[in-house]
Symmetry: C2
Subunit: 429 residues, 2 copies
Amino acid sequence: MEQVNVALLGFGTVGQGTFELLVKNNELIANRTGIAIKVTKIFVRNIDKYSHITLPEGTHFTNDVAEIFDDASIQVIVEVMGGLTFARECIEKALNAKKSVVTANKDLLAEAGPYLLDLAVKNGVDLRYEASVLGGIPIIRTLYESLGGNKITEVVGILNGTTNFILSNMTEKGAGYAEVLAEAQKLGYAEADPTADVEGLDAARKLAILSSIAFNRRIFFEDVSVEGITKIDATDIAFGKEFGYTIKLLGIAKETKKGLSLNVHPSFISSNHPLASVRGSYNALYVKGNGIDDAMFYGRGAGSLPTGSSVVSDIMEIAKNIHTNNLGQLKPFYYFEKNLYASGKIESSYYIRILVDNSTGVLAKVASKLAEQRISVQAVTQRNENETTSTLAIVTSSCPRSYISNVINAFNNLRVVREVGSVIPIMTD
Amino acid sequence: MEQVNVALLGFGTVGQGTFELLVKNNELIANRTGIAIKVTKIFVRNIDKYSHITLPEGTHFTNDVAEIFDDASIQVIVEVMGGLTFARECIEKALNAKKSVVTANKDLLAEAGPYLLDLAVKNGVDLRYEASVLGGIPIIRTLYESLGGNKITEVVGILNGTTNFILSNMTEKGAGYAEVLAEAQKLGYAEADPTADVEGLDAARKLAILSSIAFNRRIFFEDVSVEGITKIDATDIAFGKEFGYTIKLLGIAKETKKGLSLNVHPSFISSNHPLASVRGSYNALYVKGNGIDDAMFYGRGAGSLPTGSSVVSDIMEIAKNIHTNNLGQLKPFYYFEKNLYASGKIESSYYIRILVDNSTGVLAKVASKLAEQRISVQAVTQRNENETTSTLAIVTSSCPRSYISNVINAFNNLRVVREVGSVIPIMTD
């Protein structure tokens, strides 16, 4: 049986998951590909750290990355170190040495993906990155191949497990943000510094990668407007529930007549929407296209074996392409001008929560400000907080974000409004 | 630009959807594949029926199928007629003429898939069938390639839109089976003769196709145990809701230590399970594997454009393979002995509803029969129907199906039990 030799760069969570699957499913993988896939070298910076691990015969650790690039028997390099500079250097070196590359590095791809893909084609090899977004959920190849007959009009994703864990737990337990974040940190679902997750940056990087493929454009991290979940309040979640909505941090890429809008922000969605049922640390991507109508892809967005599963499927694909002499066929897919549509112009329904005086005529004053801004109201709930203050939760009809900004200014100038608590968009279609 | 010529056999729902997508997404598809895909001939039995349709230049109807097989310029044949005998004859003729084939014909594949796939490899061409199961949801290639690094341990699917529409509506409206079936027929979600759907046959065919790929075995329709939804009662749905369960018609293929079990039957699942949120005519497949943990694929299970989307993605793949001289690489994937596990031996929790005398000591008598059969009870609800009768709804712990059959016999011999209403398995993991 033909053998394809693989080197791993990095042996952290994803590297170990990849290795574990390649070893334990070895026979199955050989059956399915007709090829023996063998990890022969694993690059780690500090070999001593791994001295307790016994590798199978024919596999060894090295701290000399050049040993891997110089090894002509290695045809596939798997970059699972993360980081930008050194990882990019290694990937470029590998591609230029006509070795195919598998990477799980979303930060790098969100910054330099199109450039690296061009480089792979130029060198006649494959660069694959199924594991860079949505962990174990097969989505890159799904968008690129299986949905290739569709004009994709919208992708909406729960792209970050940490924030979905936090929001799901706030929803199910009625608990506050800080409390649930602390629990998530204790359970290992959130990092000590949770910024990249809770501020939506991680989701934005994934949205950039997914949108590039779905919409055939060169999209980068900085093209995405981002807002995190740190201001979400248990009060809003409870009001949302009354209106039939569930809160999610969504990455939304939408093709409009005026361009492509790219946003990550907390959003209410109907509790009947399939994305609303995505709980805990799970991820999902909901896709609309002019053939499929709609579809959703759901699963583990992170973790050693799920992410390893995506890496392994990429390695298998490359192995098959080596066998059939078919590398370098992943043509660049950026046919269209970027043509972005500013997020401020997107129309949406909104949820607005304000604290007001508890007195006669307050609702009329608030309603007249909404009317002045041509915002129509779909629903409103009033809750008395104490003798002097009430909370108003308002659901508007669809309107541009600028109308909402204007009415918030108007509310702030209204004497009966004590505080504008929250403004949350509602995804209605 | 290279051109690949395609012939359609059949121009019904799926054929028209395929054609519509190829025409309206023509430029996008050409960009994505680098190939101009052109339908040049469409075989229909009765040309006159289509005389009102204006085809684009270079495309024409024919009622002579030989004209297509003899046309050397046609490299891809798309079989979207359905049926067994003539469709099979055409597919075999096409493969033997070294033309690649795309088919949406699940009945034929569930009966003869492995044979036809072998024939395609023998002739060095592709036979693709993404559209044969789950309409627009990309699942064949997902199982075959994207999840290829996994040992798949279980697939559980909502594989039939008609029955899911009926059960969802019964659940949401509290309506009876006959009433909802009539509504489904009126709306076009159920056929005049709904047997293949409501008796689970359609779902069983799809489970056979999916299991072949997931478990690398030659599985046929007759290997699947089938039970339909016609006996499901609104009462059971209501009791299930109380216990936190939702009713679904599930296709369940499960790898056990003693073999592969293949079953289609109505089942309760936790209302928190992702499959529980699949409503209306939507389909979904939930997959467990030793890498991904779990994942779910959700979307339109039927319809002209969704199913057409799957056909088109297969045509695109074949076109790319023609371009790269890479046809015939879909190797047969039946590595394992069939080794089926009889469905009667599967362990499961069960829901049992019985009508009993409304008198003291009845519960004790029922409970002792359960205890005699070593069945432990997880929950029980009693509802008085009138002065003389009560309903007992019982949820058991996991036990073999044979225990349940025994206890049902015992109930039937118990004087206080007036009727055994329903027995429904509960999927607990």
